[in-house]
Symmetry: D2
Subunit: 263 residues, 4 copies
């Protein structure tokens, strides 16, 4: 608002070299084949499902469930999962830090029930870290759309992917730096950067949204509904699922037992 007194706001850039360009940029382009997922904070336990579910039949007495041992109520959690009573799984929260290539974030952010904050290519010089498929990454797609199967690539194919990725990403990053050094704005210069460049973000969700995400972003034989995620987002999802299983073990088990269908 124009009549608002200006806040005495010290630019957050002060402590972030990448943001003001004053420091010498790193020129060495690095390649990774993994992703990073940390559970930054959470407020989630199986007992959170119970007080929420029990309020329907117990009213105020459901408050007694807060913080209790959920073990004896595994049956109730399984029942809620099986019959898809979803809302009791929403009173909890997970905040993940994720570092992965931009093409993974593009798929991730289609999930509209999460909250996101991501590193900005407008406010910060992006770092020279790119994704290179590892040797175990299946490179060849067979079959029809919607039912693709991936098989191993040959040594030649792996070599080609590695050579091409290293060459293009390195040239692109150097062109990016050249533009920055000539005074071109970061948001313009970044146009040349490949989608395999890494970014970082915080993603926050509740268990219901998380189960929905996992059901779509992991490929499992025991799923009621099949999903065919790209391997790289599945790598992120698998790490998220480990945190989920550790934090809400009864809920995770019930979801698995019921075909990995989000309630």
């Amino acid at each position: 608002m124009s009549t608002q007194p200006t806040a005495t706001f010290t630019a957050p850039a002060a402590a972030d070299p990448g943001a003001d360009g004053a420091d010498a940029p790193e020129r060495d382009v690095r390649f990774r084949s993994d992703v990073a997922v940390e559970l930054v904070k959470s407020s989630a336990a199986d007992a959170d499902v119970l007080f929420a579910a029990r309020v329907s039949t117990a009213g105020e007495k459901s408050l007694d469930e807060v913080g209790t041992d959920a073990e004896r109520s595994a049956g109730l959690i399984n029942y809620l999962m099986r019959d898809r009573h979803g809302s009791p799984f929403e009173h909890n929260q997970f905040t993940f830090y994720v570092s992965a290539p931009i093409f993974v974030f593009r798929e991730f952010m289609r999930h509209r029930t999460f909250s996101y904050n991501e590193e900005s290519g407008r406010y910060r010089r992006l770092e020279p870290v790119f994704y290179l498929p590892g040797p175990e990454r299946k490179l060849v797609q067979e079959g029809k759309p919607g039912r693709y199967v991936f098989v191993d690539g040959s040594a030649e194919q792996h070599a080609l992917v590695e050579t091409a990725t290293r060459r293009v990403c390195t040239e692109a990053y150097h062109a990016y730096l050249e533009m920055l050094e000539a005074g071109v704005a970061r948001e313009v210069a970044r146009g040349v950067l490949p989608v395999s460049i890494y970014s970082s973000m915080y993603a926050t969700c509740n268990a219901r949204a998380l189960m929905h995400f996992l059901s779509l972003r992991t490929k499992r034989e025991d799923s009621t509904f099949p999903s065919f995620p790209q391997r790289e987002i599945e790598m992120v999802a698998e790490r998220m699922e480990e945190h989920f299983a550790r934090t809400m073990p009864l809920t995770h088990a019930a979801w698995n037992r019921n075909g990995r269908v989000a309630p």
Copy 2:
């Protein structure tokens, strides 16, 4: 799913007398003029805003903000609020237990960014507790729609409201019990219950959604945008705001300073 093995689920009703009707129902109708709000659990601090905001300029280094003292960054929080950068205020969570009349819940549940679980009139015999406006409740509405002003009621008006409320609610509740005792289903019998009957629920949200709720459900002279909430939901909102102010004091102060506009 029909092929799913049936879970060995013991009905949650077992521990809830109201749910199976086996216990003797309470016949004495009670009246209250207040609401109850408890902060059941939360995972929220001003520092949660900071790591989320700083990832845009600091990337991975923003992880250093997790759990820090936010005091020195009040300027950043104020800047985010003023310019309405809303997403950093989403990585936190508040779960409230609320006990209030049904007509309050009707307004409350229009807020679609919250998660809800409420006592069920289908699965449980509702308790004989009704809302009666207290002596300080302004009873008379003056002015035009959208710009109503409320003024005190006369002694006669208060007496009339009290007499009518006590009479109708008592008769309604006794008719409800009569139907239940004759074997009529709770979901049918409850049709006669007035909207002033109390219910209870869990409502979960993040700070951004909470500020939006509070901006619409409290009436304050210093708001940039005027709101005209019904007094009873405002009573709930005021209690929620106390919890918010205590949990995220810098965020609450910045929101107040910037006209109570949700970012």
Copy 3:
């Protein structure tokens, strides 16, 4: 905003007798056993699913699908439904007008993907129309919570429900009028009105949200996941489903064929 020039806004109440209380209120309480659902407007066709789905493989050429005959693409719609590709079912819209008892609206508005506007008990004198279960309404609930079965009521039970409903609703409405006539604000006086009073609203959604709603609010043997809706909201849902089936017949058929699971 305080600096905003005041709009020359003529109160909407002018044309609405109920809103200003100037007209003589109706004292005769009426009872209904049905609900009303109208499809006020829609922008929805099976072809809308096709352009949205085809953009993934055809890019700009998918524009050719807009407005085409979808018949030859029933297989694609079925495939999307079966494998739960949900987003192509979102590019369409239905706006319903619904008139039903408040206890139905309470359940309806838990669906957070719809848009709502409802008649206001704060801005308008509510009309004396209440719900009375019809002779075909099963009155007796048997079995365990979560797996209730409803069976017919006896003649005595029906007589009791009718007598009690008529008596309580009539007394309540007259108490409401008495308070209004004594100058008590509508929002206070309405506290005595039973949840069986009718209200009206507009509810807007897309086909994906609609299928989710219908899967939870209709009880069908052929559903993959069982639902046990209260009969009165199911009456609303059945009317909505008729409109859906007529507007997007291939989508409706594919949803039915795949266990009525929302994609």
Copy 4:
């Protein structure tokens, strides 16, 4: 589901050369400096705001507003906008086709109230079309984060951006084709493609969500709250705003008059 009969689904790829790789790919890389926005379909008129708003005071009589001339009710629309009554602006729908660089889509898809379907780099060979900033694009960023100002670039800077963009994008696309021709899966090969490559999508929203989007993605002196969008998404937003202004002129005017704050 495993017990589901397999649909006789002919792969959608059949009609889409890019999807099966059978056709000869285009090798000539093209550059554009514009974006494309089409209003594919809409169900939106100022009158839609009126019936939704009037139901609160007029109940069923609000149905008379459906399809009427809204002109005489401009005051009501302005009042709703000014006091931020948002829900009446949700009963309408716009579906846009957008063709723009991926870095624009990345910002666009942060808006979680829209529905999206986008061209897929997994299911289709992406076309060789890239974004090159036009001569009028300001290239140099000055000032502090959160308050940047953009100024014209020099001829040298423009030349550098053009040379670097053309070189990197061309090499990247040829490396992409080389990998595809060697049998590498599209989803792997695309890793080298720069974020300036064009994609296409359908984006569907209602007027309330659209106003929120426009308030954040256009930079205007007369906005109550300042926004600093990247120019390229602003180009998309400006085209969307033209369609909005033409389809709901009274709503657009009221929004402009009230500081471009989404209600």
